[in-house]
């Protein structure tokens, strides 16, 4: 199965208005920058981006373009805002969140990781202690009043747990270091972060890779994301960016 497509444009060709798209990356690290720029270029609108830890903070140039193009409906993240309040006030995304024109739903990072894992593994819902004792236990945390749905809790043993649900995106845009033509992927160091789990969670997974190789170059024990999860592979230049969110 040769899953290589020839351009990032072709790779995102079927991403439609209103799509729910998983965006990995931990701040600057492991963000699928080439695919995200292709999304900007394509101009699809009404998008929901489901993140893990601040790729839109780490790749603020892309965030800015998406906001200024009016492409975003909603972002789900654990760390969606700049830490600095003064920098946040100048950020188009935060401005849109303040204006209520983009929804920001905030969740604990591990709960997000687990919700993707649940979607990948056919688990509709699970119980977690994370968030008990905070507002996360009571409701969905979002800037849009109407969407603050109540949460369900249950006691097991002597402790209280929150019921959390699988989060299954339509697409995942992945950044990998090496990918073979069949879709087996490996990652470089901490650029792995949310990439693998999002690849397993989405209905359609599109991987930009720095090096495309023939099957067999990646040894069976070195594959991190097995090919079954990956639908398209496209070459992307090694991205360049400053390692900072300040």
């Amino acid at each position: 199965m040769n899953k290589v497509v020839s351009s990032v444009q072709e790779a995102v060709a079927d991403i439609h208005d209103g799509a729910v798209i998983a965006v990995p990356g931990f701040f600057t690290c492991g963000v699928p920058r080439a695919l995200l720029w292709a999304l900007v270029e394509k101009g699809v609108k009404n998008l929901t981006l489901t993140c893990g830890c601040g790729p839109l903070v780490g790749a603020s140039d892309i965030s800015q373009a998406l906001v200024q193009n009016g492409q975003l409906k909603k972002v789900i993240d654990s760390y969606g805002l700049f830490r600095s309040a003064s920098k946040g006030l100048q950020d188009p995304f935060e401005q849109a969140v303040r204006a209520g024109t983009i929804e920001l739903e905030v969740s604990p990072m591990g709960t997000l990781a687990e919700r993707y894992r649940a979607a990948a593994a056919g688990i509709p819902a699970f119980y977690t202690p994370t968030g008990v004792g905070s507002v996360v236990e009571e409701m969905v945390v979002t800037n849009i009043d109407a969407n603050r749905q109540q949460k369900e809790t249950r006691v097991f043993g002597e402790a209280k747990y929150i019921l959390e649900y699988a989060l299954k995106p339509d697409f995942a845009l992945i950044h990998a270091f090496i990918g073979d033509t069949e879709g087996n992927l490996s990652y470089n160091k901490t650029a792995l972060n949310f990439n693998h789990v999002m690849a397993t969670a989405a209905k359609v997974t599109i991987a930009e890779v720095e090096k495309i190789v023939e099957p067999g170059v990646l040894k069976p024990g070195d594959v991190r994301t097995p090919s079954v999860y990956v639908h398209r592979v496209v070459h992307a230049e090694r991205p360049k960016f400053a390692i900072t969110i300040d």
Binding site: F26, G80, S107, G110, V135, V141, L192, N195, V197, T244
Partner: protein, 231 residues
């Protein structure tokens, strides 16, 4: 509790942030697996060289190494504060699910977090400052660490830049967790959360228990072994 009553009357000269971090490091036993939050906790990493302490970073790394700069920086190797670091002999990389399995499943011995406010019951607020005027904030991995780490320490300044105490009777900021903090390290004092209230164990050099009480809302229990913070 109105804003006015929270203002402390006198400001004391306390420890610099680096020394708070040093004091926390002394409370971490050899053989511990530890996660350090953003802010003062991150500075603890400067004090553990040569010690048998392993640091975990949420983004997917165990045994994180020191910061690196310039040409040595690798864009694919950062810590959870988005700083370039290096790996060590015995380090490992893993994905976010494994990372939060460690954190949520009770495998991390100690998490050290910063805080905006803390009370005598060990509740703390750290993820959202209402003064920013937003109903949302950055939770990151903080609530996961609160739920999963075996022990939770807070390392922070005792008062805000505006002179308000952060050690309060009731949290006015959104809670991160309830009842999980065991030790509080500030520039002025070391306090232990006990079932009877906050136990004042150590004070910064030159300060008295009365000084600490004057910038602390909850009534402190003074340890019979009260002493100066030692390093």
């Amino acid at each position: 509790m109105s804003e006015a009553t929270k203002k402390v009357k006198v400001r004391f000269e306390g420890l610099p942030r680096e020394m708070i971090a040093l004091r926390v490091s002394r409370e971490i036993p050899e053989g511990s697996y530890v996660n350090l939050g953003i802010g003062i906790p991150t500075l603890i990493s400067n004090w553990i060289e040569g010690r048998d302490i392993v640091l975990q970073a949420e983004l997917g790394m165990l045994k994180t190494g020191p910061l690196v700069e310039g040409d040595e920086a690798d864009q694919d190797l950062i810590n959870a504060s988005c700083q370039a670091i290096c790996s060590l002999q015995g380090s490992s990389f893993f994905d976010i699910v494994e990372s939060f399995t460690m954190i949520r499943g009770g495998h991390i011995d100690i998490a050290v977090m910063g805080a905006l406010q803390i009370n005598a019951r060990g509740d703390y607020a750290g993820w959202a400052n209402p003064s920013r005027g937003l109903l949302v904030g950055n939770i990151g991995g903080s609530m996961d660490l609160c739920a999963g780490a075996r022990k939770l320490f807070i390392a922070m300044e005792h008062t805000t830049k505006d002179g308000e105490t952060k050690v309060v009777n009731e949290l006015t900021y959104p809670e991160t967790t309830k009842g999980k903090v065991s030790l509080i390290f500030t520039d002025l004092a070391v306090m232990e959360v006990t079932t009877k209230g906050l136990l004042l164990r150590e004070v910064a050099p030159g300060l008295t228990a009365e000084n600490i009480q004057s910038v602390t809302e909850p009534k402190l229990i003074i340890s019979p072994q009260l002493k100066e913070i030692e390093f």
